[in-house]
Symmetry: C2
Subunit: 184 residues, 2 copies
């Protein structure tokens, strides 16, 4: 069951996955898009419901309209490609969880293929409704986010208000057997 | 930005990640646990809030008590290790999404290291409260799931009621630019 001789190196790459929000204009090759969708397609989901649908978006005008929904996602207009995630709308919590799983796969797969991905949340209920209109998504479906994909131009974060980078140390994040009991 | 020479092979391994629910009794080595937690720690989250805490559980009795919460997670008692995910409890949807992201990383990392992982959801609100009591988690936190980790003994699914395997074809899952418009 041991898999790849360079597993630790692969995990190092996965640890280094960061959101990429600025791209070179080069298009994402067709075979790369297919590879990303294959990795997404095989993601596990609650009782294997596969509650997702993917809209591959390369239309500049559609990406521009999405980017105008709110300032923190203005960088979407810069991306050569977006993959909008549409959910069945049957279960809020488990579909949000499954959306997170499939998104993480897209970000990891993009990184391993030499590209980068970024996640744009449309915003509140009104902005989600507007995104559905732009993308032709039926009102009863859930649509919260679009994953942009492209070749990284910069890792600089173009958003007007930035989140702090870095991560908390394991000592702060981990307990042993019961919450609050020291691990190591 | 291209990363590993065997990226496609790595993606094939990621596509093959399945939940493992039956384990050999061998313990999970300490350095493997640390590696899994490092991959988890670097997961992205909403505004980098890192809304998670991880409880590493190797206590047989605790795992047994969790496994008794409901029949579909009876296999948890068989696992040499569990990582319980605790969330801040500040935002339902975005924390469920972030929980999905970090869980996907644990499952992928386990597979790449030659192990396997399974996800056990505690169940309804009452069962979640009981899980919090077992694990000593404060009531105001959110706790929905525990990821089991171990060396696979079998890929057979021991649950009393099985979900259907396989995945929908891309043709059914993907639109182009607008929902319902054919891709390819």
């Amino acid at each position: 069951m041991a898999t790849l001789p360079n597993a630790r190196e692969v995990l190092e790459q996965i640890r280094k996955v960061r959101q990429i929000r600025r791209y070179r204009p080069d298009p994402v090759p067709e075979d790369v898009v297919t590879e990303l969708l294959e990795v997404a397609r095989w993601t596990g989901s609650s009782r294997n419901t596969q509650p997702w649908h993917f809209i591959v978006v390369d239309d500049r005008e559609i990406l521009r309209q999405i980017s105008l929904l709110r300032a923190p996602i203005n960088w979407v207009s810069d991306a050569p490609l977006g993959i909008a995630i549409v959910l069945d709308g049957a279960s809020e919590i488990s579909e949000a969880y499954d959306e997170g799983r499939v998104t993480e796969r897209l970000l990891i797969a993009a990184k391993l293929l030499g590209l980068g991905g970024g996640v744009a949340w449309y915003g509140d209920a009104g902005q989600q409704a507007e995104a559905k209109r732009i993308l032709g998504i039926p009102a009863e479906r859930t649509a919260r986010s679009l994953v942009t994909i492209g070749y990284p131009r910069s890792t600089r974060d173009p958003r007007p208000v930035l989140a702090r980078g870095g991560r908390k140390p394991l000592a702060e994040l981990v307990s042993f057997n019961r919450y609050g009991e020291r691990w190591h």
